[in-house]
């Protein structure tokens, strides 16, 4: 029996994306699957609290809420406003420490 029509398989948008995961995604998946990401997150939380960054962000949030009025602010608003400020004000030593941890992890996780 002949194939009725010769045509390529129906493209599935999901397949397309899954075909080529970026390097970033690969690393992310590896981090999560090994449980390292959770450990790094806890470490990051600890460092950010110690350095006072969390308190600074809280203060920024409070200022914003005071300005806009308590009932006129949604969590999406806050995230949108605070995220760039937060990202910019992370102390360098913390960044360095985390990068170092990730590098160490990658070296140990990559098969030779």
């Amino acid at each position: 029996m002949r194939h009725s029509v010769n045509r390529p398989p129906t493209p599935d948008t999901r397949d397309d994306r899954e075909k080529e995961p970026t390097l970033k995604e690969i690393i992310s998946i590896k981090l999560i699957e090994s449980g390292e990401k959770e450990r790094l997150m806890e470490l990051l939380r600890e460092r950010l609290v110690e350095s006072g960054w969390k308190d600074e962000m809280k203060a920024l949030c409070r200022e914003y809420i005071k300005k806009k009025g308590r009932n006129n602010v949604t969590i999406d608003d806050l995230v949108h406003v605070i995220t760039p400020k937060g990202r910019a004000s992370i102390p360098d030593p913390i960044k360095a420490e985390l990068l170092q941890r990730i590098r160490t992890f990658l070296v140990s996780a990559t098969p030779l």
Binding site: R14, R17, E18, E25, S28, I29, I32, E33, E38, E42, E46, V49, E50, S51, G52, W53, D55, E56, T74, I75, D76, D77, V79, H80, S89, P91, D92, P93
Partner: protein
């Protein structure tokens, strides 16, 4: 009695949450309970699959905040306001507005673009948390209702107005001062400023003042009843009578000092001593004498001596296993709160960071006191859930507030390793009005589990959390040779009590002083005491103010 602070009232649900509840009731919350897992340090999070990372069902992305729809359980991402798939989902499917933040296990409404709260949801989170540690009794405390009767605040401690009036009307006609009654200098009997400063505080602490001035400790009866001639409360009573008699010449508390020496022989020297230590020993002595009587304890075991009634509080200490999140709780009684100066030990990391160090403040110290503290790896504690020693995190909070709150600032550092002691002179800001609500166990514990509207410790809501300062004991000088001065706040006017010298001072002076012990009383007691007869200025002539000078 005051109602609870409106910061923590249950917020009204948004229209979408209300609709969801109507249609679905609690079944969504119950089904999702299976996915709750406790992360280390006690937070609750959603775990959809043990091995796979969360991926958005619309874009398969793995970045941003993830939400799980309560109706269809699809996982959606929200990366930015442009790429908001959880909103997209609710727009394409009606009724699918409410979802759960996966990282935090908190409710979210995608139409309102905001977090929403439902006590039933939080209840299901907390139940799972409690059940997860079924081997022991963790958390049962929180849902347990105290069966003992609610503690009633008795204002003024059965103030007997008539008795007080009899004392006060023996006026000293020569008195020119328009100071409130009860302000009298105390002579320094040889490095006794530590004692004088604390005595001034106790003479004006509303519960103590009312107690002694209502003749609740009657010297004649006491002498008849006990064969033990040594009674510190009697000496205190004597002092109250003297100080509130209207006589303005400085008083020498020699009898009291002698009596106190007899109680604590090792401290019977003329050396400079620590005011805080003296304060604690005073409370001890009062309790020793009064707490022993048969009427001393209430049904729930609380001691009813005046020292305890005024100063007794309860601290809660939670130790959380860093590995499994299991928390064990203990309660410790306290008569005061000792606070470390918050910006004291800065690590090199902090100095390098861009953020400028905040000014030292009481609020900062309280924040530090209630902050979760990671215990060092040499202090591993046995976790009942893991059945082995684990790293742990400790957090303090206040379970029960006293009527009078005493803060002790640890300015004297004693280092055993280096065998030297030093004094930390850093200035500390402190407010005149203080709301202790954020430091209560209910607030602290609530924060630990995320943003919950679960009511913890319903008992606490009937005690007021607002305090007013009424006394500050300051220390100036060095560790070995310093001087204590007390500032008293009577009817919103500050007075400096420097041994025998009492002067009116401005607020700014008090704010700029170096506080060591700070005394706050519940707001209602403070305002009531301002209205009391005892605080009315005695002189009818509005004289220009004359500072009381005494010879020492």
């Amino acid at each position: 009695m005051c109602s609870s602070n409106n910061l923590y009232k249950n917020p009204k649900p948004c229209k979408h949450l209300a609709d969801y509840k109507l249609k679905n009731g609690l079944c969504g919350y119950n089904l999702i309970q299976d996915c709750f897992k406790t992360t280390p340090y006690g937070r609750t999070s959603l775990e959809i699959s043990k091995s796979d990372i969360p991926r958005c069902s619309i874009c398969s992305g793995c970045q941003g905040r993830f939400y799980m729809c309560l109706i269809c359980s699809s996982v959606l991402c929200c990366l930015s306001s442009e790429s908001n798939h959880v909103l997209l989902h609710s727009q394409s499917q009606t009724g699918h507005e409410i979802s759960v933040d996966i990282e935090r296990a908190e409710l979210y409404c995608s139409v309102c673009c905001d977090q929403v709260y439902d006590p039933d949801f939080d209840k299901s989170v907390m139940c799972k948390h409690v059940m997860g540690f079924s081997r022991t009794e963790n958390g049962v405390e929180e849902s347990e209702l105290r069966l003992s009767k609610r503690r009633r605040l008795s204002f003024g401690m059965d103030l007997d107005i008539k008795n007080m009036k009899r004392l006060f009307f023996r006026r000293d006609q020569k008195s020119k001062s328009c100071f409130p009654l009860g302000l009298r200098g105390l002579n320094n009997l040889g490095n006794t400023c530590f004692m004088n400063s604390v005595l001034q505080v106790l003479l004006h602490a509303p519960p103590l003042r009312n107690y002694f001035l209502s003749d609740r400790h009657n010297r004649e009866i006491c002498r008849k009843m006990s064969s033990d001639r040594l009674c510190l409360p009697c000496d205190i009573d004597l002092m109250f009578s003297a100080v509130f008699s209207g006589d303005r010449t400085p008083y020498s508390p020699a009898q009291f000092l002698y009596s106190w020496w007899q109680h604590s022989e090792n401290l019977a020297t003329y050396e400079q001593q620590d005011a805080h230590e003296f304060f604690m020993s005073m409370l001890d002595r009062i309790h020793d004498k009064e707490g022993k009587s048969s009427l001393a304890t209430k049904d729930n075991g609380d001691c009813q001596c005046i020292a305890h009634r005024a100063f007794y509080g309860l601290l809660r200490s939670d130790v959380t296993c860093a590995s499994c999140g299991f928390t064990s709780t203990t309660h410790d009684p306290c008569m005061d709160i000792s606070l470390d100066l918050s910006t004291c030990n800065s690590s090199p990391k902090d100095l390098a960071s861009k953020s400028s160090k905040p000014n030292e403040s009481l609020v900062g110290c309280l924040d530090l006191f209630t902050r979760p503290e990671k215990l060092g790896s040499d202090q591993k504690l046995y976790c009942e859930n893991c059945q082995e020693k684990q790293d742990a995190v400790k957090q303090m909070s206040i379970k029960k507030l006293p009527l009078v709150l005493c803060f002790h600032i640890k300015r004297f550092e004693h280092s055993h390793t280096r065998k030297l002691s030093r004094k930390i002179d850093r200035h500390m800001q402190f407010p005149f009005s203080l709301d202790m609500k954020p430091y209560l166990a209910s607030s602290i514990v609530r924060k630990r589990y995320g943003n919950r509207i679960f009511s913890f410790d319903s008992d606490e809501s009937d005690i007021s959390t607002e305090f007013e300062i009424f006394a500050v004991v300051t220390h100036s000088g060095m560790l070995e040779s310093g001087h204590y001065v007390t500032y008293l706040r009577l009817r919103n006017q500050w007075y400096k009590c420097d041994d025998a010298w009492i002067t009116e001072v401005d607020e700014e002076v008090v704010r700029a002083s170096q506080c060591y012990l700070m005394y706050y009383v519940q707001k209602m007691l403070y305002h009531k005491s301002c209205e009391d007869v005892s605080c009315q200025p005695m002189s009818l002539r509005a004289d220009t103010f004359v500072p009381i000078a005494g010879c020492c």
